[in-house]
Structures are given as C-alpha cells and as structure tokens.
Symmetry: C2
Subunit: 226 residues, 2 copies
C-alpha cells in the first residue's frame, strides 16, 4: 500500500468500528441516560482513563529515539499533569464529582465492571506486547475523538445540565489535543510501517483498539442493575 492508501484504510476501518456508533453512546448523546447510568459510565471509563499514562509510558519505553520519546512523553504529562490537581485525570475527577460520584469512590475503582477491566487490561497488554509502530497505530482512534468530544459536550450541556458545564474541561481539551496527537501518530505509522505485513498489523492493532472501546460500552450497557 502507498502511504495514502494505508492512511485511508486506517481511517475507514477505524471509522466503521469506532464506539460513537455504540447503542450506549447513542443513548448518551440523545439524552436518554438516567443519572445513575451516566455515573456508571464515568466510573467505568475512569478505569480506561487511568490506563492511558501507563500505556503511554510503555510506548515511550519501546522507542530508541529520544526525539520520539520527548514527543510521546507529553501525553503522559497531559494525563498526569505537572503537579497535583493538574492534567486529564484530575479533570476527569472533577467531572465525576460534579456528576455526583465522590472522588474516593471513583479512585477506589470499586464500580469498575469485570468486562471493562478485561477490555482495558487487554489494551495495556496489546501495547506491552506489540512492536512500537503497532502500539502507536492502536492510538489512532484519536482520529475520531475530536468529533465525538465536540458532540458529547453539546449533548451534555443540553441533556444533562445537572452536571456543571465548567467541569467538561477534559472533553474540551481533547478536541484540540486529540487532533495533534493523531497527526503525530499517523505520521509515525506511515513512516515506519513499510512492508505490507507491517501495514496489516497496524490496521489490526487499530481494529483491536476499537473492539476494546466497544467492549467497554457493552459492559457498561449490560451491567446488572445495581
């Protein structure tokens, strides 16, 4: 495949499977979630959020190039912050608290469903076990993230006004950040996946990642009523 063909394939395969099409997500954006369901989503998605700096540190550890590591390191900073109370995890915590989920409850991961844990741990394993270029390719769901975030912000402001709109900062930040992140990642994949087999494995890594995000919502959607 030429780099243009690979880029198009990645976009097509990712778009077809991205979790913006999941029934739970459609219900979220239509304003059909009860407060308990929204909180259940937040408590479970939180587990995914906590895996991000871990998988990004694994990606940093896979690179022999200080320049790449400097660029990717910024993603760890984006989630962990420069100091206590900063960064994406802290933003997410404020959002959860605004939705009525105490920070202690969130951090304890008590509400994390088994299927969510399986899916998120499978993501970290994928990144740990696969070569650097495939691990980077698995992050390309960020292609679709600015769009889903923009729609989510609008939907929440309209349908869930009981969640303080000031705390949607994490989603807002991701609109710009995910755009830059995905551009860096696609450039890297197009440059480093040269053989047909490497290219196919990169597509497979992205598909696997969309399956992980989808399975997370399956579990949230089909949880035993609490």
């Amino acid at each position: 495949m030429t780099t243009a063909e690979l880029a198009a394939r990645l976009r097509r395969e990712g778009e077809a499977r991205y979790h913006h099409r999941h029934p739970f997500h459609l219900r979220m954006n239509a304003g059909d979630l009860a407060p308990d369901e929204l909180r259940r989503w937040m408590a479970n998605r939180w587990y995914y959020q906590t895996r991000i700096p871990i998988k990004d540190a694994l990606i940093v550890s896979k690179s022999e190039d200080p320049a790449f590591r400097r660029v990717w390191r910024r993603r760890i900073v984006d989630h962990d912050g420069e100091r206590e109370g900063e960064g994406g995890l802290a933003d997410w915590e404020r959002l959860a608290v605004a939705a009525g989920l105490p920070a202690e409850e969130l951090r304890s991961c008590r509400g994390v469903l088994p299927g969510v844990r399986f899916a998120c741990d499978a993501y970290v394993d994928l990144v740990r076990q696969r070569p650097l270029v495939e691990a980077v390719a698995s992050s390309l769901t960020e292609f679709f993230s600015p769009d889903i975030m923009a729609k989510r912000i609008a939907a929440w402001e309209e349908h869930y006004p009981w969640v303080d709109g000031e705390t949607l900062g994490y989603f807002r930040g991701r609109v710009t950040r995910a755009r830059e992140d995905s551009r860096e990642a696609i450039d890297f994949v197009l440059e480093h996946a040269r053989t047909r087999s490497e290219q196919e494995r990169c597509i497979d890594a992205l598909i696997r990642k969309t399956e992980i995000l989808w399975a997370l919502l399956d579990a949230v959607d089909r949880a035993y009523p609490s």
Copy 2:
C-alpha cells in the same frame, strides 16, 4: 527488618559490590587508561546510558499513582531533555566527541561489546519483569554515584587533560541529581517493601544491578584488542 535495618542492609550490600572497586575503574581513576581504552569505555557505557530512559519509562508504566509517575518522569526528562541537544544523552555525546569518538560512531552502537549488551539488556529485563518496588530498588546504586562521579571528575581533569573539562557536565550534573534520585528511591522502597520477603527481593534487585554494572566493566576490560 525495620526500615533502618533495611536501609543499612541496602547500603552495605550495594557498597560491597559497586563498580568503583572494579580493576578497570581503579585504572581509570589512577590515570592508567590509554586514550583508546577510555574511548572504548565511553562507547560501551553509552549503551548503558541509552537504556536509562527506557527502564525509567518502564518504571513509570508500573505505577498506578500519578504523583509517583510525575516524580519518576523527571528522570526521563533528565536523560532525554526537553528539546534536541539537551539532557544527559546529549551531554554524554558531547563528552564522547571531546574524547575523539565521533557522534555517529557512538550512536551507531557499533563499538558495543556483546557482554555489555547482555548486561544492559538484563537490566531492562529486570525492570520489566519485577514488581515496581524491586525495580525502584535496583536504582539504588545511585547512593554511591555522587562519590564516584566527584572522584572521576578530579581524576579526568588530572590524568586525561586532552578531554575538554567543559564536557564533563554529565558527571557534574549527576553529583547532585543522583543524591536527590536515590533519596526518592530509598524512601519509596522503605515505605513499600514491608514483608521480609519483599525486603529480601529488593536487596536482591540492588545486588543484581551491581552485578550488571560490574559485568559491563568486565567486558570493557577484557575486550579483544582492536
């Protein structure tokens, strides 16, 4: 063991095996190395230096605590820098060039001896495979690093004046940095290694690390003459 007993054991076991006692190191500080031998050491120790940000990213990936990750992330920054030309690896490159080892030659790792590669890769494997507290314990050779660096700077200025003293910045920086780093690491180990068996495994990790540094010098010392 009480924390005081564990701290004392770690210092004693580390001190007894640290590579400042290695014959090659004694010859270096006595001014007995030929320029080629000094360059051989630099080309090989470089491989160790390049493993540092990789093993530190692995350590970051093992922690569930953003506060710990923020602190440990600084070690990656120390070696990779904030931008091109900054950080410990860039300092080391300038030092090598000043000693007559072209940057390209250094970066290619062509001069890295098999035994050095085995030892350094074993270090990364140790960090990858062991629990966080043991991986942190393996870094405690930094206890002894400020002292060895201070002596090395004095010895190089005296015996190897053909290496521009301005380029000894990496060694100078480590005197302060290693002191802070080892304090953070020992505090973490004393807090998190609570059972006798965890404590013994931390001591074992530190001993293994001293063996790695020692084996590196064995290979440099006993290389086939080039």
